[in-house]
Symmetry: C2
Subunit: 278 residues, 2 copies
């Protein structure tokens, strides 16, 4: 029953505290990706490669540590990370392809729907639900299946090619929630880190898999390049507020979809142990 001594190698950002404006970002967030440190952090001090033979005890221990890593990621306890820890590549693949990911998605969508039904809308058409797109409405799992489920370093060029195919499937629990909040009378705004140049592909993809009649689709314009997602999305939510909208719900798989400023009244964090967007 001794606490396990886990040598959790974190790659740390050397960021300046002072550079964070607490008014823009009222909640703790490190915005800069680490400029150093391994891109394949390990959660075990002396763990071998995945292919290495290991006993049942060691496999169980690894599973336990990877589960704790996932909890820490989902509760926003980790600093920025570039890839899934090497030791947890198999764990994350199992999580994403097994029943657990879908089960987690279902419960979040059900919590969100229950909240949506509990809200009394003003009836003036100014109550908004914001949805992120990738890993929130659309699933890029077929892409990540070919790229190690977050174990490989993100390749923007390769991912762009995938986006331009417009074939990402819908996350079914999100589609159901989407339809329910629309039926309840919320305005639906889609707010994505995809670039304006991908608008047509994104619209085609969304429509093809069942998403209809959103009220706004907001993508990154030329002025938004290089902005951390937290800042870009906070600015866009601020514009909604300036236009008189009330943001009552927000669904996203990244904390950078949900935190910052001009926050939604309630936010819903969908699971995603594959990547981290600051």
């Amino acid at each position: 029953m001794k606490p396990l001594l886990l040598l959790f190698l974190l790659f740390l950002p050397l960021f300046s505290i002072a550079s964070q404006d607490p008014h823009i970002l009222p909640r703790p967030l490190i915005l800069e990706l680490p400029s150093h440190g391994g891109t394949e952090p390990s959660i075990a001090g002396s763990a071998g490669g995945e292919a290495e033979e290991e006993g049942e005890e060691s496999a169980e221990l690894r599973r336990l540590r990877c589960s704790s890593w996932r909890f820490a990621a989902e509760a926003n306890n980790l600093g920025p990370w570039k890839t899934v820890p090497a030791d947890c590549a198999g764990y994350v693949r199992e999580f994403m392809t097994g029943r657990a990911y879908k089960s987690d998605l279902e419960i979040v969508a059900q919590s969100a729907a229950a909240y949506a039904r509990s809200v009394r809308l003003a009836g003036d058409g100014m109550d908004v639900w914001v949805f992120d797109v990738d890993e929130t409405l659309l699933s890029n799992l077929p892409y990540y299946a070919d790229h190690g489920y977050g174990h490989e370093l993100f390749d923007a060029h390769e991912f762009d090619k995938w986006v331009e195919k417009s074939i990402a499937p819908a996350i079914q629990s999100s589609l159901k929630l989407y339809e329910e909040v629309r039926a309840l009378g919320f305005k639906v705004f889609l707010l994505t880190g995809r670039s304006e140049g991908h608008r047509t592909f994104t619209v085609e993809n969304l429509k093809k898999v069942g998403f209809q009649d959103w009220d706004r689709l907001i993508l990154r314009g030329p002025d938004d390049r290089g902005k951390p997602a937290t800042m870009f999305k906070s600015e866009k939510r601020r514009e909604m507020e300036v236009d008189g909208y009330r943001i009552l719900g927000n669904s996203g798989d990244q904390w950078s979809d949900l935190l910052g400023s001009s926050l939604s009244n309630r936010s819903f964090k969908l699971p995603n142990p594959m990547y981290y967007i600051p």
Copy 2:
């Protein structure tokens, strides 16, 4: 591969959106406990009692759903809840008494320590780390072992009697973090929802299990009674800021330790699937 149809019975608050001041509470939080709904929510539509026999498939499915419930709780996706769902009582007991809870605690403490080491302190004695007490520095697991690990409704009178024994053990990973941040030069402020009347018991307990030389111990005074923890703790953090302190780290097992206003630069959410404090 069809999504599991989970009949997740949420007990919903009928709260007023308008009653939440977004300036006091920049992040979505429902502050009022639900005034109706079951206190023993079930995560399965037709689940029997815990003692009921069930097949392996059904036990695995329950485990999966309870794991998703825990994820949703830890990512702050659920509304306020009064007890662990009846179906998940066994799951939470296993989690708390097995290796998983300690493993989760370890990784959070290690993330926090890594962050603490990465910060350049100003050296003027004004850099602060805030710690919550219950389930953050001290473990009430012996109490909850006698009270269903969160499956029973919280009994303030019984819990007071426990607090007055001053025998809660230290959470070892937190003690290590506590000592490290002190050694690094942080001021350490303890901010707890315990009442001022429990100061002596709390000091005795903390010292007995190894916590030494904190700079402030802030408890609920007579004016703080009935305030949601988010508000009470935000006000106290605001007072620290007014005194010129910079809150660089905050460790707590409840989102109400970490959210609200006057937020810490980084926050660390310790696991706690046993209870929810608004």
